[in-house]
């Protein structure tokens, strides 16, 4: 009933067009499935939870050139002033900005250096007792440090004795779950873990350990400083607009620079991935359109070549539906062969990408879904020209060119 055999024979008489279509379908399947896989990977990377209310937090840099005030006292005054601005929830001095791609990291170990022991790669931040509240992260165990535990100094001789760490870091160092209250070593300096934070990403989202963060209650006020401010939802922009003026009013021999939202920093850190995702989306959209256009064009060409035959068939009693199904079946046959080659090519391409680049193993479900989508698309592309073919008048059979 589907007349596969005669259609196949007819196809064999004009191989080139069919082969071209087949190549297009195969390459399309290979590219689209791999691109879709990469896109999905980027989307989940770009939309990951960071632990911060990013929309409500902003940071800025201060560079002081005047020498007539003591930095530590000035920063105390600044912090107090910032906290009093209407709309501000909390503000703190912070040694670096999370999610920005710039910060400090070290190994945290179970035994003091140079002894060898279990250790975990950790990014660390110097921050005061307002830090946890300002960053809006969730403390799920233990406690925050007190004001007395924060060391304010102008050298590194003395470092904090306590630390608050993220749950992932705690679990990595103490898989038995008894980490809270234990001591870890930063080089040879012991620190007691007094608090646990649920989720808080470090400066490098692409790091092998983006979730391992330790907060050290330690401030070394110098001429360079960075402040972080959390505002009430919706208030951030208005506070950002006023902060430079307020800071300079407090003390003017300094430069306030790079006032930016936490999400802005994250966005520029991720800019390349966002771009890659967008370019791939554009690429596969155009690719599918071009392939559909190709199928459309080729079918039209086939019809114009076979106008006489179709007319003859119609004159001999073929229904319109038979003509339509002829072209659909013909296309489906090409498409299926193309898809089989395409699926193999997709898997091969995926392996190639995995070998040469840091891309995960292609999930076969993406290939199958793409194959199905390409199949449906090709049938849709054939439908319009096939309907046109069905409308060819039987009388055409009796005419010559």
């Amino acid at each position: 009933m589907l007349e596969i055999k005669p259609i196949f024979h007819a196809l064999c008489r004009s191989k080139v067009g069919a082969i071209l279509l087949l190549i297009q379908i195969a390459i399309t399947t290979a590219i689209v499935s791999n691109a879709a896989f990469i896109i999905q990977d980027r989307i989940s990377y770009l939309s990951q939870e960071t632990g911060y209310p990013e929309q409500d937090i902003f940071v800025f840099n201060v560079m002081m050139f005047g020498k007539d005030v003591s930095p530590s006292q000035q920063y105390e005054l600044d912090e107090a002033m910032l906290r009093q601005i209407p709309g501000v929830v909390d503000a703190a001095y912070s040694s670096n900005t999370p999610l920005s791609g710039s910060g400090s990291s070290s190994d945290f170990s179970l035994k003091p250096a140079p002894e060898e022991s279990k250790s975990a790669r950790t990014s660390y931040m110097f921050i005061d007792e307002h830090g946890i509240n300002t960053y809006g992260v969730k403390l799920i165990g233990g406690r925050n440090y007190t004001e007395d535990e924060v060391i304010v100094t102008d050298n590194y001789d003395e470092l904090s004795k306590v630390t608050v760490v993220t749950k992932t870091l705690l679990d990595e160092l103490f898989p038995d779950g008894n980490g809270l209250g234990q001591t870890v070593y930063f080089g040879d300096i012991p620190m007691k873990i007094i608090g646990v934070i649920d989720l808080m990403k470090g400066p490098w989202l692409k790091d092998s350990r983006p979730d391992n963060v330790a907060l050290l209650p330690f401030i070394k006020p110098g001429t360079n400083a960075r402040f972080v401010v959390r505002t009430e939802p919706g208030q951030r922009q208005s506070v950002m607009n006023r902060v430079e003026e307020a800071m300079l009013k407090n003390y003017n021999k300094r430069v306030i620079s790079r006032i930016r939202g936490l999400d802005d920093d994250k966005e520029s850190y991720m800019a390349e991935d966002t771009l890659m995702m967008r370019m791939l989306i554009v690429l596969i959209t155009i690719l599918v359109l071009v392939t559909a256009l190709g199928i459309f064009g080729l079918t039209l060409f086939n019809i114009s070549k076979r106008t006489k035959q179709i007319g003859t068939r119609r004159a001999l009693g073929a229904r319109k539906s038979a003509i339509i199904s002829y072209f659909l079946v013909e296309n489906a046959m090409i498409c299926v062969v193309g898809l089989v080659i395409g699926v193999i090519a997709a898997v091969y391409l995926g392996q190639l990408l995995m070998q040469h680049f840091s891309i995960a193993q292609l999930d076969i479900s993406y290939v199958l879904a793409t194959a199905l989508a390409v199949f449906v698309m090709s049938l849709l592309a054939v439908l319009a020209p096939a309907k046109r073919a069905a409308n060819i008048s039987p009388s055409i059979a009796t005419r010559t060119i």
């Binding site: 297009q24 840099n61 560079m63 771009l275 155009i286």
Partner: protein, 437 residues
């Protein structure tokens, strides 16, 4: 004859505008997508200083103890320690050399005309300007003596001179950096490099610095490093001096070596230097390693071209292949439909070669039109890329090479696609068509 064929092609284009337009569009889209990703790739990987990129070498020393690993492929640290950078700079070996580090200041004048702002600075040694081919608009570089004395002098770039001194000759004027005054001794002309190859560790596509000062000021005034500092062991670095004496790596060192013999001599010198240091208790390794990489090797080693971009270039060429398969199909359709006409021409005496050539010209014309339209599409694509991130501003552009290669790629790929249809047409047997006419 060529012009005649071109005329025939144009007539044929006008006779079947829809199919022809579809073909041009397919080429244009293929070229547009390919050129967008290829242009970014081209700008990222372009040689930033072609006139001497093979004479400038970045120096790496294996300073780590035996058994320690780094994240580079060959385990070599990317930067140098202070002691090594200073020692190598002072040694009488190699050609011109430069040791440097990135820093910054709050910049202001003695008047209220300019609001204080943050200026990006580079502490460097005098050979810097000559080595990296910088030209001066006003004044010049500081002397070796000023370098040795940590003289408070500064060279600024044109942009900063425009901002501070309205572009006039500022030599001899004073500028405040943090809380100290420095004498301006020179202004360099615009320095347009897409890749900041001399300091890839601190942002390969960042802007070049605005202020250049003697390297010796760093120690004299305890200036901070605004770039990357990395260590491989726990060291006490509580004071500035601790840091200078530590094994932390945070400085860039370049040397100019003009011949292979000079390079070999410098390699030998580095080995001798390391052996000498070994006696002082450093470089605790069985095998000493020192690496010299020229500008292009250095960019490749630092993976300046992102993986994503390489993937995109690959995928867009595959995309171009799909477009070509599409065109090939359409060309077949178009040419074969013209078989009767060709039959008549053959019967009237046209040779197979002439027919073939005529069709290739037609295809090339389509390719040319597609290439031009493709450049326009690529510009739209690059505009989109530039919107996405500031550092793509200078990367996502088409230089002359790319502008010229777009039509070349378009025409040559089209000719390849057109070979088979043209061959098929010129094989036409005139007899059949003469009969049916």
């Amino acid at each position: 004859m060529f012009l005649h064929y071109l005329d025939l092609s144009w007539r044929s284009f006008k006779r079947t505008p829809l199919v022809s337009f579809l073909m041009v569009l397919a080429i244009a889209i293929g070229i547009g997508v390919t050129m967008t990703s290829l242009s970014v790739y081209h700008m990222m990987s372009a040689d930033p200083i072609p006139e001497k990129s093979s004479d400038l070498y970045s120096v790496q020393l294996q300073t780590m103890d035996e058994g320690r690993t780094w994240w580079t492929v060959d385990n070599m640290p990317l930067q140098l320690t202070y002691q090594d950078a200073v020692n190598l700079n002072q040694a009488k070996a190699g050609g011109k050399r430069v040791t440097m580090v990135r820093t910054g200041f709050s910049v202001y004048l003695d008047s209220d005309k300019v609001k204080p702002f943050i200026g990006q600075a580079r502490l460097t040694t005098p050979d810097f300007f000559d080595m990296f081919n910088l030209s001066f608009i006003y004044g010049g570089v500081w002397s070796e003596q000023q370098e040795a004395d940590a003289a408070p002098v500064v060279v600024i770039n044109k942009e900063l001179n425009d901002k501070l001194f309205a572009g006039e000759n500022p030599v001899g004027k004073m500028v405040y950096l943090d809380d100290a005054s420095y004498e301006v001794i020179g202004v360099i002309d615009d320095w347009n490099i897409t890749t900041k190859y001399y300091d890839l560790n601190n942002g390969a596509f960042n802007k070049t610095e605005q202020l250049f000062l003697p390297f010796s000021l760093m120690k004299a005034r305890q200036l901070e490093n605004w770039g990357n500092t990395n260590g491989w062991k726990h060291e006490k670095t509580n004071t500035f001096n601790d840091k200078l004496n530590s094994e932390m790596v945070w400085l860039q060192f370049w040397v100019e070596l003009k011949t292979p013999a000079e390079k070999q001599a410098y390699q030998d010198f580095l080995m001798a230097y390391m052996q000498e240091q070994q006696k002082l208790g450093r470089f605790n390794r069985e095998k000493l390693t020192a690496t010299l990489r020229d500008v292009n090797e250095w960019m490749q080693y630092n993976n300046v071209v992102s993986e994503d971009n390489e993937i995109l270039v690959g995928l867009s060429f595959m995309f171009l292949a799909v477009c070509l398969a599409n065109i090939l199909g359409l060309l077949l359709a178009k040419f074969l439909r013209r078989a009767p006409e060709v039959g008549v021409r053959r019967a009237l005496g046209a040779s197979k070669r002439q027919i073939f050539f005529q069709h290739i010209v037609e295809v090339a014309m389509l390719g040319f039109l597609g290439g031009i339209l493709g450049i326009i599409l690529a510009q739209v694509g690059l505009l989109g890329v530039r919107q996405s991130y500031s550092y793509y501003q200078s990367l996502a552009t088409m230089d002359l090479t790319m502008l010229l290669s777009a039509p070349v790629i378009a025409i040559s790929t089209c000719i390849i696609a057109g070979l088979y249809p043209a061959w098929l047409v010129c094989k036409t047997n005139p007899a059949i068509y003469l009969k049916s006419q």
